[in-house]
Symmetry: C2
Subunit: 264 residues, 2 copies
């Protein structure tokens, strides 16, 4: 992708974030209607998910009618161009329904099925993380700050994150626990936000499993644009979600893979 096109798409991503935020934020922390039977209906997040994807898809196709669009809610709409947008309107729906502001609206632009540009938008905290071949940036309060991973941290000193231990199979969990035991600090709970904190140089490893392609594709250009590495647990490029490791440096990636690569 030439630089002029990449710059155009990169400028378009925050416009998509603003459109999504306008329909999602009014539903964040909205009271959940409790049913007669002591249960909860999940309408607010379901509605927010669908509305956000709808406005993003409409904006993309209005501007680039020949592009493809793949979204978590409404599936794939093929285009005639090599460009396809991948959308997870709300990554972290459990955080969302719990009121925790670490969910994000994720959008990637893929060329020939490789994510080239990516965005994570967390509109309650008012942060937009962007990445592409020219770098990665945090947009907040009218400022654009370049992101750079933290280098030179060995596994024994590293901070490792995953969304929840429940995302792992027993065998996966055993491998994750080995990484955790070798690291200095392990924390759970923040979904896509963890990958962005890795890109920003605050944490060193994210190790997850069971991801959808939507969950990770938009984050890859942010991590790589900041100098980090993303792969599956065998070290191969992530092509379809599943098991993912993001590392701040090649040496840390190698150290962690040694503990993960044997999982069948």
């Amino acid at each position: 992708m030439d630089q002029r096109r990449a710059a155009e798409f990169l400028a378009f991503l925050p416009e998509l974030a603003a459109l999504a935020a306008a329909v999602v934020l009014p539903r964040f922390r909205a009271p959940l209607p409790v049913t007669d039977k002591g249960g909860l209906r999940f309408d607010p997040v379901t509605e927010a998910d669908r509305e956000a994807e709808r406005v993003i898809r409409e904006a993309i196709l209005a501007r680039y009618p020949d592009h493809g669009v793949l979204g978590e809610e409404f599936g794939n709409q093929a285009g005639t161009s090599a460009c396809r947008w991948v959308i997870d309107p709300i990554d972290g729906t459990r955080a969302f329904i719990s009121g925790v502001p670490t969910w994000g609206t994720l959008v990637a632009l893929c060329e020939d099925d490789r994510p080239v540009l990516g965005m994570m938008s967390q509109p309650f905290v008012q942060e937009i993380f962007l990445g592409g071949p020219a770098g990665a940036w945090l947009l907040r309060g009218g400022e654009q700050q370049p992101l750079r991973v933290r280098q030179g941290v060995a596994l024994a000193q590293a901070s490792v994150f995953a969304t929840t231990p429940e995302m792992f199979s027993p065998e996966e969990l055993a491998a994750f626990n080995q990484v955790s035991a070798a690291a200095r600090l392990t924390r759970f709970g923040i979904d896509c936000y963890a990958y962005c904190l890795l890109a920003a140089g605050h944490i060193d490893l994210v190790v997850e499993a069971g991801l959808g392609y939507y969950d990770i594709a938009p984050l890859i250009p942010i991590i790589e644009g900041a100098g980090g590495i993303v792969s599956d647990w065998q070290g191969a490029p992530v092509r379809s979600g599943g098991r993912v490791i993001a590392a701040a440096s090649a040496s840390l990636h190698t150290e962690a893979l040694a503990l993960l690569a044997n999982v069948d």
Copy 2:
């Protein structure tokens, strides 16, 4: 405590939050200096902790020289009044050093050693949670919004939070896992922020262990002011930290205690 005094102290708490934020925020997400040996020095959070407590203590004693002050960093300074302030300048230091904006500056005002008023301030997200005998409120964007727990949710439908499974002893973890297995959703990772989300009606249970008194005293008036319940795992009032359960309703508290109360 009479209403006029309580209102005066309640208005003072956000002033303390602002003083703390001014010394803490410049150190949040500051690059950590990496040592020669691949380690990290923790100066930013240590400095932020000490500076925040220092400015809070100074402001309190300048205004109420006869009050006592108990802080995590500088210990106890006895007063001659029945009023004592309890300060945790940064609750959630691991979140802080990881760049996750779910840490908080906690301040309680205790009368005869019972927390009467409490505050949690998260200045990056720009939220202040306040509570006392007259209620609980979220201050954000110039607005003050009353907080109310979610009622009528049974354990089978509840969302339960804890900071990390590592905070539990094996026996405590077994009991926590029983609560978790009975609940609809379990999440880890957000420290004091979870208690505030419970007060705000977004989650239903927080079950933790190994807390310091600073960690929980400032949150009790927020939870109780919003209609929730806080106790130890035997159902007794929390007097010194340790094992804590916060529940959105009496029935949920009873359901969860039945699974926790047998831990020695």
